[in-house]
């Protein structure tokens, strides 16, 4: 059952950062609340103060800055799906966010919340890692920027300090010749936590069926979302057909270290790293 707490609702980012600076240890920020409320309800956390971020309009923007796309931490999954900017500049992220929960969850849940929760199964995170996105953390003392991949420390653990807020996420815009695929395996078609997922972002090579740059991120297959650098290298700059794809994607099982839980066994998950990667690359190379 949810405990009693004080709710604060700062109007500006500096005000929010000031509160965090003062009460950092006992204050819990809340954006969409779709993760936090679950934890409050089952008593996993019992904060004395909750800071509602929903008035911080400056964190709800999606902006183009030079070659980069800046997404505020409070951008919802629905906003990602509906923004014309993300659709052209970050189609892989759109694919990831589309698989989050259900319409209701996507309307409330935010990118910042998904990142801060740092679930190995978070569905926006593989896209962010494959896109080599960066996260901007702000505190009263200033800002720092980290690659998303380094921001993640373990399940539910990040580099964020208690006095910091996630301010925004920065990712490079899609370029000509770049394509991606997000492949999620869940126990059903909606409201499903990933059993395994993979995000693939590639640049097509000049020769047919080649890739000059490959970025792969696996979700729910390791303590954090995990880049697949070995497979990336093996796929780069060589001619690919169905047979070679089958061979190379087998390497995926060397990239991952999944666990057994109520949704699936470690063994199955490892196999799925291969299957999902194979299907993703097949879509990219031969179907679109």
């Amino acid at each position: 059952m949810v405990n009693d707490f004080r709710l604060v609702r700062p109007k500006t980012l500096p005000e929010a950062l000031g509160l965090l600076d003062e009460f950092g240890q006992e204050i819990e920020p809340v954006a969409g609340g779709t993760d936090l409320l679950v934890k409050l309800e089952d008593g996993r956390i019992r904060p004395s103060q909750v800071m509602d971020l929903s008035a911080l309009n400056e964190l709800k923007q999606i902006r183009l800055v030079g070659e980069d796309l800046h997404l505020g931490a409070l951008v919802t999954h629905t906003a990602v799906l509906e923004s014309p900017l993300t659709r052209t500049e970050a189609p892989l992220l759109v694919m990831g966010c589309r698989t989050v929960g259900s319409t209701q969850i996507r309307n409330m849940g935010t990118l910042g919340g998904n990142l801060a929760t740092a679930s190995p199964a978070g569905d926006s995170i593989p896209a962010l890692v494959a896109l080599e996105a960066k996260v901007v953390l702000a505190s009263k003392k200033g800002e720092r920027t980290l690659p998303v991949e380094d921001f993640l420390v373990g399940p539910g653990k990040t580099e964020r300090r208690r006095e910091e807020l996630i301010k925004e996420i920065i990712l490079p815009c899609a370029r000509e010749g770049e394509k991606g695929f997000y492949n999620k395996l869940g126990q059903r078609n909606a409201l499903a936590i990933s059993i395994a997922n993979v995000a693939v972002w590639v640049r097509l090579g000049e020769r047919k069926n080649t890739l000059s740059r490959v970025r792969i991120a696996f979700g729910a297959l390791a303590p954090t979302v995990k880049r697949g650098r070995m497979v990336e290298d093996a796929l780069t700059d060589r001619e690919l057909d169905e047979a070679s794809l089958k061979g190379i994607t087998q390497l995926a099982w060397k990239e991952v270290a999944p666990i057994t839980d109520i949704r699936a066994s470690a063994q199955y998950r490892r196999d799925m790293a291969i299957a999902l990667l194979y299907q993703s690359l097949y879509h990219i190379l031969f179907l679109s």
């Binding site: 078609n189 087998q250 179907l287």
Partner: protein, 766 residues
Amino acid sequence: MSFRYVGKPIPRVDAREKATGAARYMTDLAFPGMLWAKVKRSDYPHALIKGIDVSKARTWPGVVAVLTWPDVPGYNGFGIVVPDQPVLCRDRVRFLGDAIALVAAQTEEAATKAAELITVEYEPLPVLEDPRAALKPGAVQIHAGGNTHQHNLVTQGDVEKGFGEADLIIENYYVTPRQMHAFLETEGGVATADPDGGITVYAGSQHSYRDQLQIARALDLNPRLIRVVSNPTGGGFGGKDEIVVQIHLALLAHHTRRPVKLWLSREESVRAGIKRHREFLYYRTGVKKDGILVANEVKIFADTGAYATLGGPVVSLSVGHACGPYRIPHVRLESFCVYTNNGISGAFRGFGVNQVTFAMETQMDILAHQLGMDPLELRLKNALRQGDLNPLGFRMDTSVGAIPSLTAVGGSELWKNRWAKKAEATLPWKRRGVGIATALQGNGLGAGRPDYGGALLRLLPGGTYEVGISCPEIGQGNTTAYAQMAAETLECSIERIRVYTGDTRKAVDSGSTSASRSVYTGGNSILAGAPTLKERLRKAAAGLLGLPEDDLEFFPEGLRGKSTSRSATLEEVAREMDRLGLSREVKSTFLWPAAEREIEGAPGLPEIIYAYNTQIALVEVDTLTGQTRVLEVVSVPETGRVINPQGLEGQADGGAVMGMGYALMEDIIMEGGYYKNTNFSTYILPTALDAPGHVTVMVEESEATGPFGAKGVGEVVCVPVTPAITNAIYDAVGVRVTKIPVTAEEAYRALADNSLLPHGGTTPHV
């Protein structure tokens, strides 16, 4: 015959209220001065209780009452068939849901905290989790009478002789899951203490009158002092047939004399509520070369959990339906309904038929493949017809819809175009398949159990009728069906009918909303009572209008002369009845037809009336992940005359999805008596995005004993779809499913075993 209301898609009488959220369910109710209740439940799946200490709870601020077993004034037990489940445990707990103490406090928070402060000293006992292990000699005995709650054995013909005649014999083992009803409204409600010393319990339920009796037994009170209101109920599916919260509510109101609310969280509902029986089934089936079934041997081990509830009847139905809707001359059907320390299993839509239909219809599919026969043809060849002897040895005297249903499925677009549909798979790693299955489902309570109904029909002074039939509305639409049948029978406008269900003060006892019985019972009860009431109306109207009684006819607003323009409204007739001293009220009684004798070796069998359904499914299997998507389902229920086609479609849509969840996703997993999935984040139900395209084709074989020819719809619609889906998986990828639910992982493993994977099976262990 043409009807004004019967057979028409009349909008549900409760649609507006429910769609707008205006409807108040029992758990929505609140009363001034209401207390909140919590239950202290067992910490062990099986243990002796050595001591219960409630002292800290009693003194916690806000706590008004803490009750333990000495506070149960009457019989400390409940259960529809055998009252073997303690209201509050005294010296032993048999599963994690067992209740030990009740707390009522000013706030929900205080009640929760106080319940946590109750300490119980236990001496743990060995835990039985597998019904087969529970039958082994030396196993700890869960109840004084042993671990076998019920053993059934039915033989007909000579099964070994039958196998001797067979050209092909197949033998398989099947396992089915502990499916959960997953109603939206978890068990709960409010009880109030009435000024006359009585108690009113407002709680969702499927049988208000039996709740009344069970509450009365535990409280040692005249049942007339207990009123149970259970309309509307936010979903039942069998899970609210038995008591879960009702006695606890009444007990707390009785002791505190204040309104008390108890509403289980989803986690507590999982822990304390009822599930579908997990069954382990052995099937050996023999057939001649030409496809004629000759022998069937079935052995069932059913996990009934810690207490009896309706376990016995459920497993009897497993036996009764084990052979499907087929003629088989030689059978041996045996079942063991066994106590374990798992969550309780009891009534659940299908009532033991789902498990055996999955097994039998898989057997049929295997036989068809091995004989090289079309699976539809094999079924048609063996299907029961009216007048046939059923495998259990009784004659099918009432309408038998197996062949009409099978024939109609054969004419459906999906079946006719199945080869083309299968070829439409979208990606190189996807394979499509089509599967078929059929089933019958007994309606009513069966032999040796008096099954009755009744209706209260009352013309009010304002010219509307009250129709009181106690079978609660649990969402399936019986209220609307009653309104239709009452308006049709009383020959009035449906606007003039008010239906009351699920209230022991406003309706006469009509039994439960279960066993596909509510429309059949309620309709026949209306038909039984209406002529008497109409006769009185006619008499009064004749006097009013100065016309002979047989010159009168009913019209939507009253009665009129057949050949004159003289008419009297219902309001005028009511007034005249009062003047003449004619009662405006009739209470009817209806008795179900029942078999003259029970089948030997199977208490409760047979049912007399059966509904039928054939379902086909088109699935697409991802051979790389093992995931199955059900793309299309066609259902052909044969349930007698359809009272409301829209209502039937709603039942069939929901049934198809429920049976799909059973095939692919749903299972309450238990280990050592502990629940592994405790809420909807890990108990996986289909969502709207998983639901297949669904078409319902109605075949109406009028049932002579049914009201307007109707039979029961509610259960059979969810039964054969399960094996239709698993048979379709076989058709798609050659994996034979004998254990459900078949998750993606399990299908994948089977696929990997078959080495259909492009990358050649599972990766090596490291």
